[in-house]
Symmetry: D3
């Protein structure tokens, strides 16, 4: 039915009409991390220099090193590690929890989190700001839990074997604020920490010592 020769010609014409729009068709915006960030994310890498490897990240393949105080590791694939997610409203990370491992109480200021247990048993929970109600549960392999944006939450390996989870976030830059680090791993004066947390000075000084804080 179609006569191929003439078809090629006219399709070519058709493409010409549309092609002037290609410059700004914003299918994606791979981050050019060498330029200054903006409130909506990093400026876009020149599309002519984009390849499939910008959309693939292999940094989550290896387990994080859990030989540390929390016996756990968070390996992020946010915009800084994985520029392909820039502007796309999503990012991911892997959580490795050795036996006894804990991801301490923390928040993600910029997004909600969704956790899928790949291996092991994890006790996870969050605390709502409504009446400070706690929602926590033991999760098994394959279970999914969602942590609403900005709320304090935690994950604990509650099993007898290492645990692994894949988490995703509703933002390419969800942020991560671990409460203990925010309070004790910097130079926030002890007297201010005491005044704003009700904690005993001795307790504060002890944790500042452990976590490297001063003041």
């Amino acid at each position: 039915m179609l006569h191929q020769t003439s078809v090629v010609v006219v399709v070519f014409c058709f493409l010409l009409v549309a092609s002037s729009s290609y410059a700004s068709v914003q299918d994606f915006c791979v981050a050019d991390l060498s330029l200054p960030d903006t409130p909506s994310g990093f400026p876009c890498k020149d599309v002519k220099k984009v390849s499939v490897s910008d959309f693939v990240y292999s940094g989550l393949a290896a387990a994080g090193n859990t030989s540390n105080i929390i016996k756990a590791a968070v390996t992020p694939a946010f915009t800084a590690q994985f520029p392909g997610v820039n502007g796309l409203g999503i990012s991911t990370a892997r959580l490795d929890l050795a036996v006894g491992g804990v991801i301490p109480i923390h928040t993600h200021p910029g997004g909600s989190e969704l956790l899928v247990v790949i291996q092991g048993t994890i006790c996870a929970g969050f605390i709502s700001s409504s009446a400070n109600k706690v929602y926590f549960k033991t999760l098994n392999k394959g279970d999914v839990m969602v942590f609403p944006q900005g709320l304090l939450h935690f994950q604990i390996n509650s099993g007898k074997a290492p645990a692994l989870a894949i988490v995703s976030f509703s933002s390419p830059v969800p942020g991560l604020q671990i409460t203990d680090f925010a309070l004790f791993a910097n130079d926030l004066p002890t007297e201010i920490v005491a005044a704003t947390t009700f904690l005993d000075v001795a307790q504060i000084k002890k944790l500042k010592g452990v976590l490297g804080g001063s003041g």
Copy 2:
């Protein structure tokens, strides 16, 4: 130049053409708190029942009661108190800090905060998640400080007289999660608090006692 009589008639016609759109012109959406909330806010009160008093709130006129442990009070004008802000991306509150008063370390999961000192002297600060850097400063009357969304922050009356601040938020439902209350004013088991905060059990039990927590 204009003949008023005919004008009235034709303007009337003009209005008829446009009037069918008025039903859903969403100039505003005063919350009908009797209906279930939605992710974008409460359903709208019937516009025919809306009056100017829906857009005015007098609950911030009186000082909050600061005769309490923190010698401070937060009086909110969020959607629940002030239904006129529903859907408008903004809300407000007043902070009263008696001498020695403190608003403990807290976050607003749903929005950024902007504080204006109306009276007194306030030491205010927030902690970024980047390297846990602390930004804090003593603010005097008329000074403005902004606290980015979701980050831990605090306010302390650092003067010798009562202090008053008006704060506004980039959301009609910014939320308020006071870290101490989240950790110690509920039934989150002591062992989980200990595991996820590095705090000593004795410290946890002490604060649970003070703040009414159990477990």
Copy 3:
């Protein structure tokens, strides 16, 4: 330093001041699927009836049934299956691909997708609208790939063993439009399919037969 008895009293007072705001603190909005949807998601379930099980979903624990033509299965955890994600800007699904399994060319009209390979080897790709450029790559265990919103993409088990992937989306209702099903599994008249796809009528009729379409 603190006298516990008096403390309990004043904290109680403090809570009273704040408590009137709790009604609409929108920490989360678990979907009440019995009510009509809105453009921002379903109305919220009464927070008094919300429990931790609303935030946990176990439906991804079991592998999907891949005994089908595509030797693959998509098991979603969108709002309809997992009401806890309502309004939170995120959802997830598991992909099971038996040997030879394929997720056919499709789009998610409402969000970007991020895929993490849990097991096996997957050849995945998407097609940009800029010059119809194809980005595809073979992914191994632990690799992550992102598929920008609305673009045609596919996943093929390119290994010799079953493959498993966890995918997440930047929306609780990303949608799923499989091109073949959209074209051949309904009553869209053959002449319209032919006119709008350049496909031969015989090819269309064959696929309508396979996929259950008519017309």
Copy 4:
């Protein structure tokens, strides 16, 4: 290659896996105008009752009646008239301008406007808030002009024949606030109008008379 009989069966299985998600796949959300509005738009009509006619509107086919003081008519297709645009971030209207017709200075509080001249010659312009700079130009058939959100703008038939334009908006409920009507077609007291506009009282009273205002 494909055995059709078995295919039908397995595809059926495949659909079953996916089908539970269909309840909330939010491809669209046709407004159910009988329910209360929300900040994101009206609740959705039951998808089982939705038909193609919900997505088609014929109310712009006929010219508006321009036998009025402004010799012009705006015929909107916003959510109230055209429920199919609910939640989709777009709407439209037709402008009819008889010879000498004028769309008076107005704003759309909720969206930007894009005008395409279908017939005739239109002098159109807007005023920026930066230094009150005016941007206006005479537009001919086929010309497009964009009016940024919330800024005062106007359209005048500057030709010798009737003019027709199709306008679209970046919101399904852009709103329409005609400055003259806002000031003179209601009961806003003359002294307040005078105080807030610098207009002479006589001028105010004259226009209140013309436009049906009181006070």
Copy 5:
């Protein structure tokens, strides 16, 4: 009542107070296409160099060339052609359909579309992802149809004369992905197309030939 001389002076003072804000009053953001794009659109052209011609586009005045295989043309006014729409959430295009003309099945990944028939008769439709239901209808002059974001849709001249439509989009960069071009006009390997579409290899090779694809 007003003494003009003194008035000019004091207004001047008033303007001074406000003027420091003018630098970033973001009334509009005309695209500077010479700078890298961002997720929210292009950086803004210096407002001092902006003139009314940045907000007017005449490229839709002339009919597109329909002497091609689809007997149709899409002439876009997106950010790349019409920098004034950058950041404003709206754009437009004209569709010309000669007798027998067809806009093939396609999606706009970034926005919803609203079509107004200016001339002729157009059969238009879209396919929902819910149960792959088809919504299509014959549209006459003046009819409006909306196509929800990201869904497959098409337009066919179903009359005996040329047809013209103005379409608008809920984004300044809606994108355009024509399914046939995405599948057959590039180097996506035939075996992948076959595996992910169920199409016969012969059919694929035929269309690759017609549309200029390889592989």
Copy 6:
């Protein structure tokens, strides 16, 4: 329980894993006003050069100069004055109204406004676009009023002493369009003003004279 020495080491390791994400953790984005703006706000100042003073603004401490025709002053703290609010969805300003002072009828194209009376008595109101209904009320010290986005509104000192209000906005760049200035303080031709406002030419020329307009 914890051995401090080993703890310091392992925490150090833990931080290394997380640290690569810090580059783009977008806790905040202080405006770099030397770079071109974008639709989402200004590019971010290098975080290493950010200090607490970027988040504090003292420009509202002093009263604005009300020795002018309107006996009032608006002192803004938008992005241009207060770069710390960039990207945070909020800004503020102070209103000083001498006895008899008036903020003339105006709109904020980019955001809703929330006013808190700090001192004095203010008559404030806005006009909806629905049937041009007026909502106005006399506000006393401590009263809060919200003005929905884009609608005409005004504030008048209705007391016998100076009044002061703090206003906040749901955008860091809300804009400010004073209707009188938009109409009379530029070179918009008198005939266009007359045609689009129904005002008498003499009235227009008088106000152009007062406000410095021409044409």
